[in-house]
């Protein structure tokens, strides 16, 4: 009889520990963990829900609705591959609410540095890419005095 008591005690401990482990584990592991792999499947939705700042090239028609001139000029110029937001900055908010949110444009005084980001002569840039030596190419003049930024060829 005494032996049976020992065995029951061991069995009871075993059951309590196992059930306790399963309960704690159930609380600690997030609900979607392991659904798709060794990670929380809901994390994918968290990342997906991040806000979009750049309207992107998919908004081409939306841009053209108000800015038909620049969009048309750019389409046939050497800047045709350059997307609006490359120079004007993130405009997702502007596309959603064109009246109250206005995207930036470079000030006239900063023009040379702004255009120079791409076009200042630099030995590291690929050969054939149009570059100018800013210190000898009409120093002091804003680029837009001669070039239309949407149709840069003179």
């Amino acid at each position: 009889m005494k032996d049976l008591d020992h065995l029951l005690r061991v069995a009871a401990t075993f059951v309590v520990v196992t059930v306790g482990f399963l309960v704690v584990r159930g609380f600690l592991i997030p609900p979607t963990f392991g659904k798709l792999g060794h990670y929380r499947a809901a994390a994918v939705d968290d990342v997906k829900a991040m806000p979009v700042r750049y309207a992107g090239r998919a908004a081409r028609d939306a841009c053209a609705r108000c800015h038909a001139g620049p969009v048309r000029d750019r389409a046939s110029s050497s800047h045709r591959g350059v997307w609006c937001e490359t120079c004007h900055g993130a405009a997702g908010a502007h596309a959603a609410d064109p009246k109250s949110v206005k995207p930036g444009r470079p000030a006239k005084g900063e023009m040379r540095a702004f255009c120079g980001r791409c076009h200042a002569s630099n030995i590291t840039r690929p050969r054939g890419f149009p570059q100018v030596n800013l210190s000898v190419h009409n120093p002091g003049a804003a680029c837009t005095e001669c070039h239309d930024s949407h149709k840069p060829k003179l």
């Binding site: 792999g37 994390a43 979009v52 750049y54 992107g56 090239r57 800047h79 030995i123 590291t124």
Partner: protein, 253 residues
């Protein structure tokens, strides 16, 4: 109606059982057949990849700026999801690499241009490894590869131990100073899921960055990889990156 004897009854019953079992097995068998002919990891669509054309990169750093804006990456130096490096190979054979503020403010011309044999810009970002070390080392399963092939971070589950930052052979991860979690290029997962391009691809003025679906042989990315000689970074690491480079020099690490 004829009386059933035992023999006839058993024969009919056996036939019915066999017919029923066969009909039960048909569906799983067909499923198994489909599985072995076209396993899910081969027909998964889309499966995202990326390519960089080094021969087109002009080092304007617009991609770095766009990435920081789109993904709320801290503006200070050292926090980058993507950055641009400048490699210069000298006549002496010496190789110099610099990346002032990750290329965020562009690159000033180098002073000693006469000693340079060749120089080029190399944009860097997550290499989208098929066999990624960062996922293997994460102790809590907070970084993972999605079903469409993008390596992401679970910000709620990350404990900020930074082991993955050490593990990445390409140095593409950083520790976010305010969120206190590891952070990295997500291929703008929130954008590509809405049908948009990643922010860096949108703003690149020379189309040096190509994003697309590897599972579609007609996607711009698949065509780019098929039509150009491309290479990946550190192939000997066995990480199998899905980020391909065109014009990759042997000096690039």
């Amino acid at each position: 109606m004829r009386r059933l004897d035992r023999r006839r009854f058993l024969r009919t019953a056996l036939g019915a059982v066999v017919a029923y079992a066969a009909s039960c097995l048909a569906a799983p068998l067909a499923r198994a057949q489909r599985f072995f002919r076209a396993p899910p990891w081969k027909i998964r669509t889309p499966y995202w990849g990326f390519a960089v054309d080094i021969t087109k990169c002009i080092g304007c750093g617009k991609c770095v700026d766009a990435c920081k804006t789109e993904n709320d990456v801290p503006r200070e130096p050292f926090y980058f999801r993507t950055w641009v490096e400048r490699y210069a190979i000298r006549k002496s054979g010496e190789v110099t690499v610099d990346s002032p503020n990750g290329g965020l403010d562009g690159f000033e011309p180098m002073r000693d241009e006469d000693s340079i044999v060749k120089a080029f810009f190399v944009p860097k970002l997550c290499n989208l490894c098929e066999n990624s070390p960062c996922i293997q080392v994460c102790p809590v399963g907070a970084t993972f590869k999605t079903e469409d092939g993008v390596v992401l971070i679970d910000r709620k589950y990350c404990i900020g131990c930074r082991y993955c930052i050490q593990a990445c052979p390409y140095g593409t991860r950083y520790y976010h100073p305010t969120l206190k979690v590891a952070d990295k290029c997500s291929l703008c997962y929130h954008r590509i899921k809405r049908g948009l391009n990643p922010a860096c691809v949108e703003v690149c003025p020379t189309d040096a960055r190509i994003f697309g679906d590897l599972s579609d042989p007609r996607s711009p990315l698949s065509r780019f990889i098929a039509e150009n000689p491309v290479q990946v970074l550190k192939p000997a690491m066995g990480t199998q990156p899905k980020l391909a480079y065109k014009g990759l020099d042997r000096e690039v690490r």
